[in-house]
Amino acid sequence: MTFGAPIPGTPVFDGDAAVKGYALNKMCFSFNAKENRDAFLQNEEAYCDKYRLSDEQKQAIKSRNVLQLIAAGGNVYYLAKFAGIFGLNVQDIGAQQTGMSIDDFKAYLVSQGK
């Protein structure tokens, strides 16, 4: 039982990822609520400890690096709520993951409509 051949550059959030990322995703799910976003901003480390993040996950949170967060088991639907704390939208995180500037990433999106 597997999803099939890996698709380059494309994470698949399967059972292994879910097991690995549970604490991280649970924390990110909590960011639906403003009081939790505020609590995170007030004391980031304490908040990560409360959700029992692994060292890899804490490091990934500290880095704000989406690819690292995914490698640590993060699911993009929940990670988007983490990004939201910093006012980052899906173009911002797209640019970060692809290594493009934001303008280049937006131009890339437009180019695919031609």
């Binding site: 698709i7 494309t10 879910a18 993009v76 988007a80 999106l109 437009v110 409509g113």
Partner: protein, 288 residues
């Protein structure tokens, strides 16, 4: 008997909520997408449906990994929107239709669909924004609603074939509802997009146009796609296509396309809108 009068499929992205709040509907970036709903507005004003059955995917507002349903259906008297963490205005509550919800749930469970039954649902942007696009201007929602959620977060996802069968079963269930109401179907999601990984930003216009063509002429072809094929061709969030497939399969009559728009990009997404009319099959008329 209840009658499915038609259906609308549309992309959903959180930034539509911001565009509405900031009144950017006429900006060059947003105009092509918002304009796509004008034919729907005319059609809705004329047809006046009583209930909208909204087939969508939750993005981590209502469902978490502790208890992730494959298929979940709301059966509440009212549904609330809530903060999703991105500063989009929270929209007004939506009326439910518990009788129709329970009728659909009973019919589906009898048909061997293993539904998660929800007496509370926080509806997210994939439910609220298509409603706001259909009924603009912050008016009181003129329809009751039934939320139907398909898992698009946690693999294994339901197969396209299973979503197609779910749609067919929903169609049969609505057709057999004894009250004389008009139902509009919504399928919200897709088309191609990918938010995560080094392939983030991937959009596949040829595949999206192929999907739209199949929605018109050969929806069964969509049911034959594997999940791997969909992720490969439509991106990891392109799996939201499942909502389109289920909604199309739920139209049990003769289906006529009234409108279609495709515009790239809206946010990171292939922005697509299709409007269909559904005319009951002769046998369905006879059964009334």
């Amino acid at each position: 008997m209840a009658r499915i009068i038609g259906g609308l499929t549309t992309s959903h992205v959180p930034s539509i909520g911001k565009a509405i709040a900031q009144k950017e509907q006429e900006s060059p970036y947003w105009k092509p997408f918002f304009d796509a709903f004008k034919p729907a507005h005319e059609w809705l004003a004329r047809e006046k449906p009583d209930v909208a059955v909204v087939i969508y995917n939750d993005h981590g507002l209502n469902n978490f990994l502790d208890k992730m349903p494959t298929f979940a259906i709301g059966a509440a008297a009212e549904y609330h929107n809530a903060d999703e963490g991105w500063g989009i205005p929270v929209l007004k509550p939506f009326r439910g239709h518990p009788k129709l919800s329970w009728h659909i749930i009973e019919s589906l469970v009898a048909d061997e669909f293993d539904i998660t039954m929800c007496q509370e649902v926080l509806v997210d942007h994939a439910f609220t924004l298509p409603m706001a696009l259909m009924y603009p201007g912050n008016i009181d929602w003129p329809v009751a609603t039934v939320p139907v959620m398909l898992n698009s977060v946690q693999h294994p996802l339901p197969t396209a074939r299973r979503c197609y069968k779910l749609g067919q079963a929903i169609g049969r269930a609505i057709d057999s509802f004894p009250e004389d109401i008009k139902v509009v179907l919504l399928g919200t999601g897709g088309l191609s997009h990918q938010l995560d990984g080094k392939r983030a930003g991937f959009i596949n216009k040829p595949f999206d146009l192929w999907c739209m063509d199949k929605m018109r002429n050969d929806p069964e072809a969509l049911a034959r796609l594997s999940n791997h094929e969909i992720v490969e061709k439509a991106g990891s969030q392109g799996v939201e296509l499942m909502t389109w497939i289920a909604m199309r399969a739920a139209m049990t009559g003769r289906v006529k396309e009234l409108h279609a728009t495709y515009h790239v990009p809206i946010s990171n997404t292939g922005g697509a809108v299709m409007l269909f009319e559904n005319n009951p099959q002769p046998h369905a008329i006879a059964a009334e």
